[in-house]
């Protein structure tokens, strides 16, 4: 199963079944066992702090993550081999992702967890070294790897495999693919503005959707963070009851015990919010993943615009060259050209010169036709593959986000149950006053 001959196969027996007639991968028929994740268990097990010298020879502290892999058949057999493992830092994950984006521009590439903590509800967790943040990032990185390794197209990538299995020298291998040059031109293209005449309507709609998704998801996350902040305040203020009741109970005879124990429950209530909100961060992370996915989706649409634009340019160019040829051949000037003007002013050129120019034009036209053919294929392939992946993405998104909303409800229910518990207990204490 090789895609345009760009990646090598990692090694599976079922390839032939999934080969379409023209040799390209038949995405829709990929079974779970065919993706990398089907053959290999992957997890990001730990995070550790390291110190080292950076590119400008300054001391820095960074976090590395332990990636563990085990062959799936060994696990299935009941053997429990020790996993292979290696350490990677966040920047290496970034490198991998950039490589994938450039190499598979028609795929909505799964996003990485955020680089810096955003939409924070409490100033503390804005720190990248905060253990809770590191833990959530570990989970996010694992999620990224699982998504990539189970993707029908991405999972076959050789660079991905190396990332998971060879700690040393991986960076050099990536750079050797020459993706960096492509990345630079891709970045330039992404930020450029160009007018496409006939973009695929579906892609334009998808681009619109991705923009709106980004906007609305951001708003939701911002509002959620504010709510979390306020809820934190409410719970923590109740801790003051604990303190005051305790002090008050010391001067009371009959009311003392009731007040004292009620105070303890108020303390418990105030303390409970930390866990509650920490859990809710996971919900926020699930939403954030799709906020970042929106960007990846947008990039695919932009790539379509770019290929379509290049095709239109190439077609345009071919048409104008053909016109030039016609003019040269028939002598009839339809369009204004500098050559035409100079011809008029200084007289026609010699027949040999004309012949030479015609010949050149013919060559250019042949080249142009090739270019148009290539671009057409590129454009069509991109549209076809991208559309498939966008459909896959849409279904995945609907499923994942629905689950996220359900998770959110489950968390709310848990919080309510805790609240009922605490206040029922407090009431019992008050009854003893």
């Amino acid at each position: 199963m090789s895609e345009d001959g760009r990646e090598e196969l990692v090694g599976t027996d079922d390839d032939s079944e999934n080969m379409a007639v023209d040799g390209s991968l038949n995405n829709t028929m990929v079974e779970e066992g065919c993706t990398l994740l089907g053959r290999m268990e992957i997890c990001v097990a730990e995070a550790e702090k390291r110190s080292g010298k950076n590119a400008v020879n300054m001391q820095e502290t960074f976090t590395v993550y332990l990636i563990e892999t085990r062959p799936m058949d060994a696990v299935a057999d009941g053997r429990n081999p020790a996993p292979d493992s290696l350490w990677r830092r966040y920047s290496e994950f970034e490198l991998l992702r950039n490589y994938l984006i450039v190499t598979y521009p028609y795929i909505v590439v799964p996003p990485l967890p955020e680089k810096r903590a955003e939409f924070v509800w409490h100033k503390l967790s804005a720190d990248n070294m905060d253990p809770d943040f590191v833990e959530r990032r570990r989970v996010g990185l694992e999620n990224f790897l699982l998504r990539v390794a189970s993707h029908p197209v991405l999972s076959n990538d050789k660079i991905l495999y190396h990332f998971l299995t060879e700690e040393q020298g991986w960076k050099e291998v990536v750079y050797e693919t020459g993706f960096q040059a492509k990345a630079d031109s891709w970045l330039r293209a992404l930020s450029a503005t160009f007018r496409v005449r006939n973009p695929d309507k579906r892609f334009m709609e998808m681009k619109q959707y991705s923009d709106e998704l980004q906007s609305h998801a951001s708003q939701l996350l911002r509002a959620r963070a504010k709510v979390a902040d306020r809820l934190y305040g409410v719970y923590k203020v109740h801790g003051n009851y604990g303190r005051v009741f305790s002090e008050w109970s010391a001067i009371e005879r009959e009311m003392g015990d009731g007040l004292q124990s009620a105070g303890h429950h108020m303390d418990a209530y105030a303390a409970s919010i930390d866990d509650i909100l920490e859990e809710e961060e996971h919900y926020a992370d699930q939403l954030k993943e799709y906020l970042f996915y929106a960007e990846a989706l947008r990039a695919v649409c932009r790539k379509h615009e770019l290929t379509q634009f290049e095709l239109e340019m190439a077609s345009q160019d071919l048409i104008s060259k053909k016109q030039q040829r016609e003019e040269l051949a028939t002598g009839i000037v339809r369009t204004f050209s500098f050559k035409g003007m100079t011809n008029k002013l200084f007289g026609q050129e010699a027949p040999e010169q004309r012949e030479a120019r015609l010949k050149l034009l013919e060559e250019l036209i042949v080249e142009g036709e090739e270019a148009v053919k290539e671009k057409t294929v590129e454009c069509e392939e991109h549209v076809e593959r991208a559309w498939v992946d966008m459909q896959r993405f849409k279904e995945q998104k609907d499923k994942d986000l629905r689950e996220a909303l359900i998770n959110f409800a489950v968390m709310q229910i848990s919080m309510c149950k805790k609240g009922i518990q605490v206040w029922s207990n407090a009431k019992e204490c008050f009854l003893k006053m």
Binding site: V244, W248, A409, C416, W423, S424, K427
Partner: protein, 420 residues
């Protein structure tokens, strides 16, 4: 306002808690510490508490013969001023009263008059405080509905506290307050202002002189009071803070649910669950609003009253000290006097009696007040805890319903096994 029908059969009914009709006691099957199950209505519930109190209170409760309500605040406009008149309804079987039912109208000033007369007559009894004249701090305007309602409840509690009091309840001025159609003629008769002036002057003189020795029990009382005042003020502040934080939380919650709706507008399959979550958040907002209301209307006023009680009690202690100081001063003068001792002795003896009476009155009232305080605060705290339980139970139901609606349609999830 409230349709207060005082029932003909008075047995088993608790006084006070005007808040009954405002309280929605969430009756689940919880049980008391002794294992008996929780009764359902507020009044019967409070009766349950009454069984735990000492006999004295129980007797009072079972033989209550006077019922007072304060309601119907109405605005009165004259050339000079605008003020609120409250209706005071009394139903009683007491023989001292000519009729068994009275309806009069009183304004806040009238309540002030009554209280000052009572203080005058019983300087060392603990008389329940009145709501303050004007609330500067809060966002309450003088004639806003919230302010009037809060004041009305406090005035109602005030009169009921007086009627519960074994001594104050039989005071002549109290009777006049409840029964006279026009209070003005009675008010003019009192020389309250002058006597209060005299008292203040004496108090200043005595405090300069100092007290030779305060009986220990009163010293202990004073110490307790300092601490109690302190603590009840703190609880009051904490409660105010809780309300403030809750309000800010509510504000953000109100901004939160629309973001789900906006997103839903974008989506296909996802639109419904997103909108459902939005409506869940909205319903929880409404519950939060109610919870804040409850805190403001039930817990906070009671706490505030006991903050004022702290001040009242301090004044009572001061007056008691003054009475003792006055006696001691005269006593000393007597000791150093050469002639005309007999007349002075009578005076000194009179003052000695006064001291003893004052001390006894305070001692007696002290335990009465402590019980009352305990009952009031206990009931307010319980009510708050119950409201909070109810709040969480309602929110729980909202989210469980959402989950149910989602699980009913597993649909596509069964067809898609994996992420890719």
């Amino acid at each position: 306002m409230s349709e207060h029908t005082v029932p003909a059969d008075l047995s088993g009914h608790m006084l006070d808690l005007d808040e009954d009709e405002d309280l929605e006691v969430f009756s689940k099957s919880t049980s008391l510490a002794d294992g008996s199950s929780m009764p359902n209505s507020p009044s019967s519930m409070v009766n349950q508490y009454r069984l735990e109190e000492d006999d004295e209170e129980q007797q009072n409760g079972n033989t209550k013969d006077i019922f007072i309500t304060v309601d119907n605040p109405e605005s009165h406009v004259t050339a000079i001023e605008t003020f609120i008149m409250y209706r005071v309804l009394t139903k009683t079987t007491r023989s001292e009263f000519d009729s068994c039912e009275y309806e009069v109208h009183r304004r806040y000033q009238d309540f002030l008059w009554l209280r000052s007369k009572l203080e005058e007559n019983y300087p060392t009894l603990i008389i329940h405080p009145l709501p303050e004249k004007f609330v500067m701090k809060g966002m309450v305007e003088r004639f806003s509905n919230d302010f009037i309602e809060t004041r009305r409840k406090a005035l109602h509690r005030f009169l009921n506290k007086i009627s519960e009091h074994p001594i104050l309840s039989y005071n002549q001025h109290f009777k006049v307050f409840l029964t006279a159609q026009e209070l003005a003629p009675h008010r003019k008769q009192s020389a309250g202002f002058l006597s209060r002036m005299g008292e203040t002057v004496r108090a200043v003189a005595n405090s300069v002189r100092g007290l030779s020795s305060r009986p220990e029990e009163f010293t202990l009382m004073q110490e307790y009071l300092e601490n109690f005042s302190n603590k009840i003020c703190s609880v009051n502040k904490v409660t105010q803070r809780v309300i403030k934080e809750q309000r800010e939380y509510l504000d953000e919650l109100k901004q939160y649910s629309p973001t789900y709706v906006q997103w839903a507008g974008l989506e296909g399959e996802l639109a419904e669950p997103l909108k459902d979550v939005a409506s869940c958040v909205e319903r929880c907002s409404k519950e939060t609003e109610e919870q804040i209301q409850h805190l403001s209307q039930v817990l906070l006023p009671i706490l505030h009253e006991y903050v004022l009680c702290g001040e009242t009690l301090k004044a009572v202690m001061r007056r008691r000290d003054n009475i003792q100081a006055e006696f001691e001063a005269k006593n000393e003068t007597l000791a150093s006097k050469k002639a005309d001792k007999e007349a002075m002795q009578v005076e000194v003896d009179g003052l000695a009696d006064r001291v003893e009476m004052a001390n006894n009155a305070l001692k007696g009232d002290w335990s009465h007040w402590q019980n009352s305080m305990r009952t009031d605060l206990k009931s307010a705290f319980i009510s708050t805890a119950e409201k909070n339980v109810e709040y969480y139970e309602k929110c729980l139901a909202v989210w469980e319903l959402f989950l149910l609606s989602q699980r009913v349609e597993p649909r596509k999830e069964l067809d898609e096994e994996d992420v890719s």
